[in-house]
Symmetry: C2
């Protein structure tokens, strides 16, 4: 039987001794100049060259961070921009990361109902059984948009269960305008995101989704820039994993984010994307490592781990 | 300058004399036996055979319905299930439909914030400029998940504007559990979907998005199974196009759906998917046309047009 994702991610957090995960949001124009100037990858309008450059960069990033963090979150939007060639690159990257032993989270934010939701779930969580695609591995978990309520969440949750995988339902975003929708308050003061969180929490608490460590394979995405919500949610959903974006470039501090962790250090994955993968753009790292962009990324990962570790203690 | 999508879809509705549009949700196991038994397409586990069968079926469906309806809505989830090969098939199908002169709506329900939203918008609305992809056309409009509020909607709306295209923001779903989230009511009785609709309505009303006929290129997806909301929304957002799923297999009647139309017959696109594209499974059509599945689809389209036309008068 496939192992439980809630257990697996917990073991990974313990073994890497950090809730930090690295988000992969590759933008061609920000790739290291060594890659962008390579003669086989220096033309963004040649789709083959562009996706080769993305793959070269991303696999190197994953190799650097895989020994340091429990998971990488790969954002499919930056690959979809290159149409099917980009989608192929996305799946290849997930498969590479999987082979390196790091947990993989596909940031795909898919959401729909009924058969459509099942099709999305299969696309993103089922390891393909098609001839000649046997080497392709889909992510250990994906993000899901739960706007349609339980009808839109359960199909993803059920495919995740079958496959020994997990989902993180987007409950509270990290952007300013999210408040108008997600913090919309009912007559009793309860907010919309809390209603959604309760629905996700109920699905997450079903016994078939709980691993041997007590955590569920159904988690929630909750923005780190909304720390006032963190304590409330943490207390209410003790055995749910929170995926927390917003640390680093989006303005949430380590202090904000660690409020999502339980006392044992488990229960939250704190994501940093641009602040780590583009560390070579920052003076502090350039001064230390010159044009060794890989060293910059490695050091930024270590620095973020230390900062989070301090905030936790 | 590119034409306005709001105008274009209005002209198409007028020239085809119906608000009916056909949704393409292809499932291999339901394809006509003539396709599934063809020796080059009879193995679903061979991804090439599977996507060839899907493409064969879908292009034939589009050829049948293009002279009859203003638009086809192509659901990418059913293609994504076949990974990048399916995504390539999706774009090829959109391009084929475009060449047949029917408006194309990509049902992609993408939604995220900031750079990620822009990347999705480019993937799905920008005609690619990559070498060797010049023949690929992206849809005239796509569906968008607006859960993150305006920050998640404006990036899509702006790319749509640049490209002479449109978006339909998912405001109220047609599934039962949607009510718990989308009908969640505030202290004054206003529901969450109404707040979201107001945000979309504000963006839609910006002058740069309005065509010469007064309609916006920013529309809303509102389920036909919630007709009590129809009149309210129609009255409030006079010049917004509503994309109305749920007619046919999902249980909304023609009467329910036509409430979304303005008095001049414009302003709504009423979508039928399975009840039309799988018409050859129904006894009433089998009896009439035997194994001529294309005739069954054609007749079901005509019948649905008549039914809607009657409901409107």
């Amino acid at each position: 039987m496939a192992s439980n994702f809630g257990d697996r991610i917990g073991q990974a957090v313990k073994s890497k001794n950090t809730p930090l995960i690295v988000g992969i949001d590759p933008v061609y124009s920000r790739l290291p100049v060594q890659i962008r100037e390579h003669r086989s990858m220096n033309d963004e309008n040649d789709i083959g060259a562009a996706v080769d450059a993305m793959f070269e960069f991303c696999t190197k990033v994953v190799r650097i961070v895989a020994p340091l963090v429990p998971a990488v979150k790969i954002n499919i939007a930056y690959f979809e921009k290159y149409l099917w060639e980009g989608v192929e690159t996305y799946y290849s990257l997930v498969s590479e990361a999987d082979a390196l032993g790091v947990e993989t989270i596909g940031d795909v934010k898919r959401g729909d109902i009924g058969h459509t939701a099942v099709s999305y779930a299969k696309a993103h969580l089922e390891n393909p059984e098609f001839a000649e695609m046997e080497d392709i591995i889909t992510p250990d978990a994906i993000t899901v948009n739960g706007f349609a309520g339980t009808d839109g969440i359960v199909p993803f949750a059920d495919v995740a269960n079958e496959q020994g995988k997990g989902i993180f339902v987007w409950v509270r975003a990290s952007n300013p305008s999210a408040a108008a929708i997600q913090d919309f308050a009912g007559a009793d003061g309860k907010m919309m995101y809390e209603v959604l969180a309760e629905q996700v929490g109920e699905i997450a608490a079903q016994s078939k989704r709980i691993g041997s460590e007590g955590y569920s394979n159904i988690g929630m995405v909750v923005g780190g820039t909304a720390p006032e919500q963190a304590k409330k949610l943490r207390k209410k959903f003790e055995k749910v994993w929170f995926l927390v974006p917003g640390y680093g470039s989006q303005g949430a501090t380590a202090q904000d984010c660690v409020r999502f962790c339980n006392d044992d250090g488990l229960g939250a994955l704190i994501n940093a994307s641009r602040s780590i993968i583009y560390a070579y753009e920052k003076d502090e790292y350039k001064e230390q490592f010159g044009d060794n962009w890989e060293k910059c990324i490695e050091q930024a990962t270590i620095d973020a781990k230390v900062e989070i570790s301090k905030a936790m203690s």
